[in-house]
Every structure is written in C-alpha cells, then in structure tokens.
C-alpha cells in the first residue's frame, strides 16, 4: 500500500498521507468554509470528532458526509458548499 493517497477537492487534486481525514485535506487546500449555515454563514470544522456536523460535505455524490470521520481514499471526489 502506498503511503499517500490522492483525492479531488472541488476539482483540485490533493495528496495526503494515507489515513488522513477528508477534513484535514480540505483545510490543506485553503478552503475554510465547508458549508453554509441555514442563514448563510460560512462554517468549518468545530469538534473534529463527529459530534457537531459542521464539517459536512458531499463525497462521491453523497451529501452530508462528516469529513472529520471519513478517511481519504484514492480518487475520492469531495465538494464543499461554502
């Protein structure tokens, strides 16, 4: 198994150490707003452990995935909504 994986975040390829979380990969691309709140505010990760749901994004077409609980995989397509 390779030590790195490459995933695509908002159309940009990002290389991360194997085992990294999607949330960390998104921040690494300089994207801080992962989604918009119900009144339109930018929001990013808060708890880092799957509790707060602030870091949810669309992964491979599935909405509302918690990026902090999802391990990066090769070829993953991640979309933020911020």
């Amino acid at each position: 198994m390779s030590d790195f994986v490459t995933l695509v975040i908002n159309g940009i390829a990002v290389e991360m150490p194997a085992g990294s979380m999607v949330s960390a990969a998104i921040l690494k691309t300089g994207t801080y707003a992962f989604r918009r709140s119900v009144t339109g505010e930018p929001r990013g990760p808060l708890c880092g452990m799957g509790i707060c749901f602030e870091c949810r994004v669309t992964i491979d077409g599935e909405q509302h995935c918690r990026s902090c609980q999802t391990v990066c995989r090769n070829g993953m397509d991640v979309r933020t909504d911020g």
């Binding site: 979380m21 949330s23 960390a24 690494k28 708890c47 452990m49 509790i51 749901f53 949810r56 999802t70």
Partner: protein, 407 residues
C-alpha cells in the same frame, strides 16, 4: 438471539478497550463498536506509543472490533442498530458496556461560529489526521488540562502557539498544582514541552474577528483587553459526558453523567458504563472503570473488587480536576443578543432569552433540533440558562432514510 454477543461494548476508547480486554480474558465473546475509523477514542487517536500496551492487549484476546459504525437506535431490548457506510448492522448482546466518552464543552461568544475557530481537542484531532500546522499562529483558550496537552502537541508539530488562556483563576490552579503531585512526571513533561509559551490564568477570549474566517481574537485578563492575530483559535471549556445512548436505554443520570454502582452497573440490568460517560476523570480513571465493568460483566466480582482502591485514588483526582476548572460567571455574559448559540439552526441568544425552558425554546426556535441534536448547544445552554435536555429520542443522530426502513 442465538448469535448475540456475550458482551457488546459501545466506544473503543480507553474505557471500552479495558472493559473488552478484561471480559474477553475471562471467556466472554466480546464485540466493540465505535463511530471512529480506528480504535483508541479521542485521546489515543492515531495510536500513540503510550497506548500500545492497550492495543496489544486487545489484539491478544478474541475481540471483534467494528469501526466506523454509529449506534443510533435500540431495535428491541438487547439489540442496537448501528449505521455504517455500507448499511445497518444489528448488534445483539447479553450484557452491554457504554463507554461513549465525552465531548468538549463549547461556549458561545461573538465570532465563535467563524471557520478556524475550533475546539481544542478538535484542532488536535485535525492535526493528528493530516492537517499541516507548521508555522501557523494558534491561540489555545478555554479551560481544563486538555488545553496544555493540546498546546504541547501543536507546538511539537511546528505550530506557533501564541498564548494559552485558561479561564480558571490562579488561586484555583494553585490548589490543582498541589494535587498534581501524583502525576508529577506528566506535569514536568508538559512544562518542558511548553517552555516559552505564555500561559495566562484568569484569561479568556471575549470575541473572535474575521469575515469569511478567523483573523484575530480579543483576549481579556483582568481589566486588560487586547487583540491578537491568529490562524486558528483552539477553544474548549473542559468536557461533557456523552450520555445520550444511556438515556435512550433508560439508564438514570445524575449531575450530567451516567449513574453507576460499585461494579459500574447502571440502573438498567446488564448494562454497565465506564469512563468519561460516568463523570469526567481522565485516562487512568477511565481505564480502571473499564476493567471493573469488564470483570463484573464476566461475573468476576472478586477480581473487580481488587481494583476498587485504584478507582478511589483516581476519583479523588477527578474531583479536584472538576473543582479547579469550574467555569466563571463572566463567561455567561460574552454573547451579544445577536450571537448564535445553536449553530445547527442559527438560533441567537436573544431568541432563547424569551423562553423559560429548553423544551419551550426547542418548540419555538428549533434550538437543539438540528443535525447535532443539541450536542453542541446543550452544554452551552446548560451553563447559560441552567437548562438540561429532557429526553433523547431515536434516532439519536441523523441517519439515512434507508437505515430506518427495516425489511
């Protein structure tokens, strides 16, 4: 149920691992289920060297570990449902250990919803799972011993930790320092790792500033107020036990944690609980409680009794910890009327102030009814208004519709 596990453990942190190990050692067929992608809980995320002895113990016994599965409902007494990326699993048990741990307490202040304002443990978890922090300017603030551990970890990974702001007063902390004698080596290690990082007691963040993300924070210390530019604010106010699953199963709670007897048994037959879920007390207390729960579940009550003195010592430390980091009243008045308290539904302080109970506020404003189900704002409204959640209903967490439709 023919294929029921003798013991199901919910939570693969220190308490859950200790319970599973002891129970399996004594012949029980054990299954551990956890929401996270790997075992270790929050404190042992990434499998640090000091945890290896416990990971080895789990490997040395026959324990089934299911990761990435979040328990969301009780199907019937003795069977829980958990959602994974690939579907739903039914988990049946004869006995159950709830080792669901704790989360950070967050308190609202102007700007706390900005991207890059995170929990202290939250930022640490992100760095542990791949976020580069080298050269970033970080303010660590809030309350509790976690702040020191997080600051040391971030610094060790190249962050420029500008300040640690602890809300507890120096008088409170001095008493704690005396109590730390039992943990002296740990304390010295932290001190060495943090040399040169300013540590202010009686100090807190009153406001976070920025447009699309955090740019700076305002700090308060006595009469002094000043602004500091930073990339991240790591801010948490000690911990809150995760008691939702216990409440769903009908276990009694007291003072915000699960009520247990000397053998870590809850008020529900065959259901045990251990670790932070039964009161915040740290790693060592979690481990010994887990061991006692695992032994008791296996019917080894004499062996469990031998561990009681260790638990007594660790509980004393826990009591001191919780007294030391009691939250000061000033923190109740940081928010302005427009400050958002419930981040899921964007409910502001002024809208909550019009209500007399959380139930009423929920019905009128949807506070606590979003995806986190009050796990973030619950700890805040408890501190701000003295309101406590009154009921937990299934599903405990947002799940896919397909997970709720049983064939």
């Amino acid at each position: 149920m023919g294929n029921a596990h003798d013991l199901l453990v919910v939570g693969a942190g220190p308490a859950g691992m200790a319970a599973a190990w002891r129970a399996a050692q004594n012949g029980l067929r054990v299954c551990v289920v956890d929401d996270n992608p790997a075992a270790g809980g929050q404190i042992w995320r990434g499998g640090p060297p000091e945890a290896q002895v416990w990971f080895e113990r789990i490997r040395s016994v026959d324990v089934k570990v299911i990761n990435g599965a979040r328990v969301f409902q009780q199907l019937r007494p003795g069977t829980l449902l958990a959602e994974t990326t690939s579907g739903v699993c039914e988990l049946s048990y004869k006995s159950l250990v709830l080792a669901t741990g704790a989360r950070e307490r967050f308190l609202p202040f102007p700007g706390w919803t900005l991207p890059n304002v995170m929990g202290a443990g939250g930022l640490q978890a992100l760095v542990k799972t791949g976020l580069p922090i080298e050269g970033k300017h970080v303010v660590v603030a809030g309350s509790g011993p976690l702040l020191l551990a997080v600051a040391a970890y971030l610094r060790g990974h190249g962050a420029n930790v500008l300040l640690i702001a602890e809300q507890a007063s120096s008088v409170q902390l001095a008493r704690f320092a005396v109590g730390l004698f039992s943990k002296r080596s740990q304390a010295f290690d932290l001190k060495r790792q943090l040399s040169g990082v300013p540590y202010r007691s009686g100090c807190w963040v009153s406001e976070a500033h920025g447009a699309e993300r955090l740019e700076s924070v305002t700090l308060v210390h006595g009469k002094k107020r000043w602004q500091v530019s930073c990339d991240y604010l790591a801010c948490g106010f000690h911990l809150v036990p995760n008691v939702e699953l216990a409440e769903l199963l009908g276990c009694d709670t007291e003072f915000g944690h699960v009520k247990v007897n000397a053998f870590q048994q809850t008020t529900v037959a065959n259901v045990y609980s251990a670790g932070e879920t039964t009161g915040i007390g740290g790693l060592e207390l979690s481990l010994v409680e887990g061991e006692i729960a695992g032994l008791a579940a296996a019917g080894k009550h004499d062996a469990a009794r031998e561990l009681f003195p260790v638990r007594v010592r660790q509980r004393k430390f826990a009591d001191l910890l919780n007294r030391t980091f009691a939250l000061r009243d000033e923190l109740k008045y940081l928010s302005t009327p427009e400050t958002i308290v419930c981040r899921c539904e964007d409910v502001t302080l002024e809208r909550l102030q019009q209500h007399k109970s959380w139930r009423e506020a929920k019905l009128q404003t949807r506070c606590g009814m979003g995806p986190c189900q009050g796990r973030v704002c619950g700890g805040a409204v408890e501190f701000l208004f003295g309101w406590r959640a009154t009921s937990v209903r299934p599903p405990m967490l947002p799940v896919r519709i397909s997970s709720l439709i049983r064939k």
